[in-house]
């Protein structure tokens, strides 16, 4: 599962005070604990339950996910640019497994 590579789209060149849109997508089955497999056995719950975005080390956005979120969670949010820096995105699943990705952003 650790081979999962999240995808994030952050504009590379931005200007100050611009509100940018950040799109994130991660491949994850998000088993809600209600689906059954081909043999009629319930697939145990296995979801990503938390997502957070940090900018230069400070948390700017956090989201708690529940089983009602679709497979391959797709999250979009906005951010107001103040300075150049790095975004750190983190997803945590029920097993405590963490998925990371970082993105650079430069103010032009």
């Amino acid at each position: 599962m650790s081979s999962i590579k999240p995808r994030v789209k952050v504009p590379k060149e931005v200007s100050i005070d611009e509100i940018i849109e950040i799109k994130t997508l991660i491949r994850h089955p998000m088993h809600s604990g209600r689906m059954k497999d081909n043999n009629g056995q319930i697939i145990p719950r296995q979801i990503i339950n938390s997502f957070s975005a940090k900018f230069n080390g400070k948390e700017v956005f956090q989201m708690d996910l529940e089983p009602s979120i679709s497979t391959n969670p797709f999250i979009v949010f906005q951010y107001k640019v103040k300075e150049s820096g790095t975004f750190d995105f983190e997803w945590i699943d029920d097993n405590g497994e963490k998925y990371y990705i970082s993105k650079e952003m430069t103010v032009s």
Partner: protein, 154 residues
């Protein structure tokens, strides 16, 4: 004898009726008249304070063909400053096995209170958005979605 029996029943009924009337007359003002899992959850989050219906951009498809992937977008008008910003946004579904869908925590750094995600809907139902600002006030809105194929399995 027969008359006495009748009166006994009617008195009990009258008591029940009074109890019922006072109940319905008092409760709508402090909590919600409808009883559903989403409203129960709203009452739990707001600690019985309730939320004011407000004009929030809350976009969901009117008819969702596939309940597995329903895009939900919202935008709440807020200056997003340190002293006046939306802190948390909850999305609650009335007809899903559990009312909780997602909880978003916003910070003033974001500049706007807007986000989008994709959710599952098991059947045709109302979806609620509940937002809390930094002063502890609650706003809410709802949207009805018709679901053709449910998306919660089982």
């Amino acid at each position: 004898m027969k008359l006495k029996k009748l009166r006994k029943i009617s008195r009990r009924n009258a008591l029940l009726l009074i109890a019922g009337f006072t109940g319905t007359a008092i409760f709508p003002s402090i909590s919600f008249a409808q009883s559903s899992q989403a409203f129960d959850r709203i009452n739990e989050i707001t600690k019985g304070l309730g939320a004011t219906e407000s004009d929030i951009y809350f976009d969901l498809p009117e008819i969702a063909e596939n309940g597995n992937q329903v895009k939900v977008t919202f935008e709440i008008e807020s200056p997003m400053t340190e002293t006046d910003h939306i802190k948390t946004v909850y999305i609650l579904a009335d007809g899903n096995p559990s009312p909780n869908v997602a909880k978003f925590s916003f910070t003033p750094e974001m500049g706007s209170c807007s986000a989008a995600t994709r959710m599952r809907l098991s059947k045709t139902q109302n979806v609620y958005l509940l937002a809390e600002n930094n002063n502890g006030q609650f706003l809410m809105t709802n949207a009805k979605v018709k679901v053709t194929i449910g998306g919660c399995g089982g």
